[in-house]
């Protein structure tokens, strides 16, 4: 009886968004009377930072500081249509809708500023700090605050825009089955190192080294946070989490989260995250969807590392000590 060290590798090619009946998201942008910009969505921020990234995308497109953008994700009854926050689609689909809406709002904003400055809208640009000026003549300028007041109180215009992003449904070709289920793919690769105790069946993850290719990282710190958390969650899926902890009888299943096992702060593997940025042609500022993928490659990597360590293939998750011991027993029986 001994502890065996093993190494496993796995790679994933991950589609952004989904291909059911088409994958649309919509966004509306309008200015308040004082030149802040409201982005109305019915998408939801689950904690991954959707609101922050949408504010960045809107601010970048209109040409204002991020603090001047307010994201409202209040209500699926009253907001513009969104398929939802899932399938790693949020940044890509909703971000593209926000860009389109913000472009239209920016155009109206420049038209209003052009009226106020008595110049052509095509000659105007934003400075990114809350002002609009004539290109090459920065002294000829108006603040976005005053531009919004002009629109609301003098011109009777709404500085607003509509955004719509739709990836149409792709049907397989009858003859070949070929189809295009996604317009862009993120990628990841994980190398996991484990120790397996062949007496107890216990697996200790020593290290996970992850490389993620996610298009442009629009907010690098939040991307890193999501990837670190996701890597941990991948290990959790591989070795711990199940609604049937008292296998094999379903009626002996867990009844609440107290009986739903996850690794705690004392069970952390040494974790390395490397981010590669290859901007997607159709992504908002090049972004793809890293969401679900961040917790995927660790699972087959850990399974492969266990095979490397003790020579058993466990293909049911989670890979519990019991499943490893049963596989080892079968292996020994086969060897005789």
């Amino acid at each position: 009886m001994a502890i065996w060290r093993g190494t496993g590798v796995a790679a994933v090619n991950y589609p952004t968004g989904m291909n059911l009946g088409g994958d649309p998201s919509q966004a509306l942008v309008h200015s308040t009377p004082t030149g802040n910009f409201m982005v109305t969505l019915s998408s939801v921020d689950l904690g991954q930072g959707l609101k922050q990234v949408m504010a960045q995308i809107c601010a970048e497109t209109i040409g204002v500081p991020t603090e001047q953008v307010i994201i409202d994700t209040a209500d699926t009854d009253t907001g513009p249509h969104c398929m939802g926050t899932f399938a790693s689609r949020g940044t890509h689909r909703i971000g593209n809708a926000v860009i389109q809406a913000a472009k239209e709002a920016r155009q109206v904003m420049l038209e209003v500023a052009a009226e106020a400055l008595e110049v052509d809208a095509a000659d105007l640009d934003t400075d990114g700090t809350g002002n609009i000026h004539v290109k090459g003549a920065p002294q000829k300028a108006i603040s976005i605050f005053d531009t919004a007041l002009t629109a609301h109180f003098k011109l009777g215009r709404s500085i607003s825009g509509r955004g719509m992003f739709l990836v149409p449904r792709s049907f397989p070709e009858t003859e070949t089955g070929a189809m295009k289920p996604s317009t862009c793919y993120a990628h990841a690769c994980t190398v996991a190192e484990v120790d397996v105790d062949d007496e107890t069946g216990e697996v200790t993850v020593i290290s996970v080294k992850n490389v993620f290719e996610i298009g442009r990282a629009l907010n690098p710190r939040m991307v890193e946070q999501q990837l670190v958390g996701g890597s941990w969650m991948g290990i959790s899926h591989a070795l711990y989490e199940t609604t049937e902890p008292y296998y094999p009888n379903r009626e002996h299943g867990g009844t609440d989260f107290n009986e739903y096992l996850m690794p705690g702060p004392g069970d952390l593997a040494e974790t390395e995250i490397i981010v590669l940025e290859r901007p997607a042609a159709d992504g908002p500022y090049g972004a793809k969807g890293p969401g679900e993928m961040c917790a995927n490659p660790q699972i087959p990597a850990v399974a492969n590392a266990i095979f490397d360590a003790v020579g058993v293939r466990v293909d049911t998750l989670p890979i519990t000590p019991e499943r490893i011991l049963r596989a080892l027993k079968e292996q020994r029986a086969g060897a005789v």
Partner: protein
């Protein structure tokens, strides 16, 4: 059911309430006193989201009866910021991106505060031990551990 009078301080302020006998401190804090910083996760002492500090000790407010807090000093995350300036632990949690959905954060911060109040210069193992009763679904714990160590360093620099 007969109500029971109870007085304690919440983040330094005197509080006096009539509470239902058997009501948990968590329920009284959230529903009577309007302090929603402690979160109700599992309501059976497994997740740590409801953690508060009572007379200097880390406690689970979902398992503490309010009437047992007579005369006690109760601290919650809501009382940490002073004059609009975040507590070093709050600052460090922000700087280290130690929250995603944020539901575990108040409990994590109170567990960390209870540690730093006793052990101002903890080792990584001390931090792991201190937060081992608190479950986090999003972060993978590493950013939280880093934040607590960062806050401890900030504290010791201020003290020096």
């Amino acid at each position: 059911m007969a109500k029971v009078p109870v007085q304690f301080t919440l983040n330094g302020e005197e509080k006096a309430e009539f509470v239902e006998s058997g009501a948990t401190l968590l329920k009284v804090l959230r529903h009577k006193l309007g302090d929603t910083s402690p979160k109700g996760g599992c309501h059976q002492g497994a997740c740590g989201a409801c953690s508060v500090i009572i007379d200097g000790e880390l406690k689970l407010s979902c398992l503490t009866l309010a009437e047992t807090c007579e005369g006690a000093a109760v601290e919650t995350t809501a009382g940490l910021a002073a004059d609009g300036v975040m507590h070093p632990l709050q600052r460090a949690f922000v700087d280290e991106f130690a929250a995603q959905c944020g539901f575990c954060t108040p409990g994590m911060i109170m567990a960390a505060k209870a540690l730093l109040d006793q052990t101002p210069n903890p080792t990584r193992e001390d931090v792991v031990e201190a937060i081992s009763g608190n479950i986090c679904r999003c972060t993978g714990y590493e950013p939280i551990i880093r934040a607590v160590l960062t806050a401890a360093r900030a504290n010791s620099q201020n003290a020096a």
